[in-house]
Amino acid sequence: MSRWAKQIQMQCKIPAIGVASSNIVHYATGYVQKYQTGMPIRYVSVPFPFTGQPRTVDVGYVTGKDMLTGQPMMTAVANALTSPLTAEEKISGAAPEEAVEPRLLPPDSEENLRALFEDREWTDFNSIILPTEKRVTAMLKGTSHKPDEVITTINITGGARQLTVEKVAISAVMAGASPEHFPVILALATQAPFGNSTSSMANMVVISGPIRNKLKFNCGTNAMGPYNRSNAVVGRTFTLMSKTAGDLRNNVNAWETLGNTMQYNNQCYGENEEALPEGWDPLHVEMGFKPTDNVLSVGMGWSSIASVGASQSIYPTHYLMRDYMSSFCASGSAATIVIDPTVAGLLKDVHGFKTKAQLSEWFSQNVTKVNASYWGNGVIQSTAVPFALQGLEPYATWRKLPDDALIKPFTNPKAIHVVVAGGKVQTMWFVTDFGIRRGVSIDHWM
């Protein structure tokens, strides 16, 4: 918002202010003070939420008081637009650089160091392994890449940070990983930081290829549960590197209103490639990799619905999956179906889905949703509405349909992924709204 207001002031030569809701206004004003020196943007503030409210409530915000100054709203607006700059607002030039801490902390007791890590939010608040120089050096032996190699650059509030191999090694040590895990973790680092928004999203990490067996990733019984070291430490490292390198601190720049418990481990598991029905390719092979490649895929989403009980012949499994999928927002057509090998067998042998792609196509053609329900989702409002207003199909047509019309929101079958995992103990599955990005080579990071 600061950017837009600044643009209006500079390009149109019109004084501008921002209207921020009370939940984020202090973030906005803090940001402006810190990073927008020389072009201060002023704000007024209204209560939150303003979406989903009766119109009378929103009108009340305008006729009520500004939550920053306590003045009547329009008086506050006029004052913000016309009053002279304060001494603080006249400060010009680049924002002062923040103090950079030394690469090594001074020696201290374990207790004090743990307290320091918690104070700075350099942890997920589960116990960590302190990243001593010796431990980090040992972790770095897990790759041929140099410690100062930059893996990715992460945009943070007011600047950017380079995520290096050494920094990732520190997070890997903290999470309890071994050097053998390090190439997997480096591949994961290319996707850092993890998805993080007020909408309280989470992530999914799928491991593919022979490395699953070599490092004993769990792909069978309890694949998605807390029963395996590799699944646990790799998944956890994603959180630690995202929180530290991504500078995610609660109520400072991490604003997930509910948060998401899946962020502790990021649903890290391996596909049970050995149990795939004939003709069903592993996830990474569907993405164009060779079966012998070691690949990691990251998804981002919010929701997961389980079959709960065993499959019943009265209602085919994929019908139930379809029904549950209609609850999802279908942002970007994204869905990931995680199914036990027994369910995969049923879908192939009983219901005739010879490939995963056929199943994805079937979902794309058969999942329907009430039009108003589609547009009633906030994420859809911020993504599909702009496209609809610019005439892009099918959004433009859907916007004109009656509220109770049925639409097929999963327009892109390639965004619907099917992953087989589990121990053949129950005909169990999860349908999720996780959108999986293209896989990343683990071999590259050996």
Partner: protein
Amino acid sequence: MKPRLFPTVLLTALVLALTLSSRALPKTAQEAGSSAKSGQDAAGSAKETVPFPQVPRITAEEVERLAKDDGNVVFVDTDDPEAYAAEHIKGAVNVAYDPTVDAREQDQLLSALPGDKLIVFYCNCAHEEDSAPMVLEMWELGYDRAKVKALKGGLTRWEQLSYPLVGTDVDAAHEKGAK
């Protein structure tokens, strides 16, 4: 009495290089910029290196024909909203290229683009500097590589060929012409 532990702790990951250096481009963009620059240095001349050579380009002539034939083309203008409002290819949608925004937010917008059509990104720049990185991001999102391309020569080339444009500047020019 228990001995106190004095572990020396590496803090690099946690210091996070707070220097507010370069408003960073995505890594790929940085690499492309750097290779373009070194290419110039090595040649010792002003010879330009095409950034993001791995991104397939499509000519204005070809895409205009495809759009006419079956309409199965989506144009995406990567300029800022003001420039888009002023002038864009008829039927184009706008997703501004801004390497400083949260990539995840931008991904949500990009992933709303249809997967069953040819998607052509274009910018108002000489060598697809802003449109090509968007193509790379679409690949990362899992879009079919053969169905996402950058318009060679961008808006300038489209305009040179007098292909249809819309926007406030275009309207104003028409009004002026009518008078």
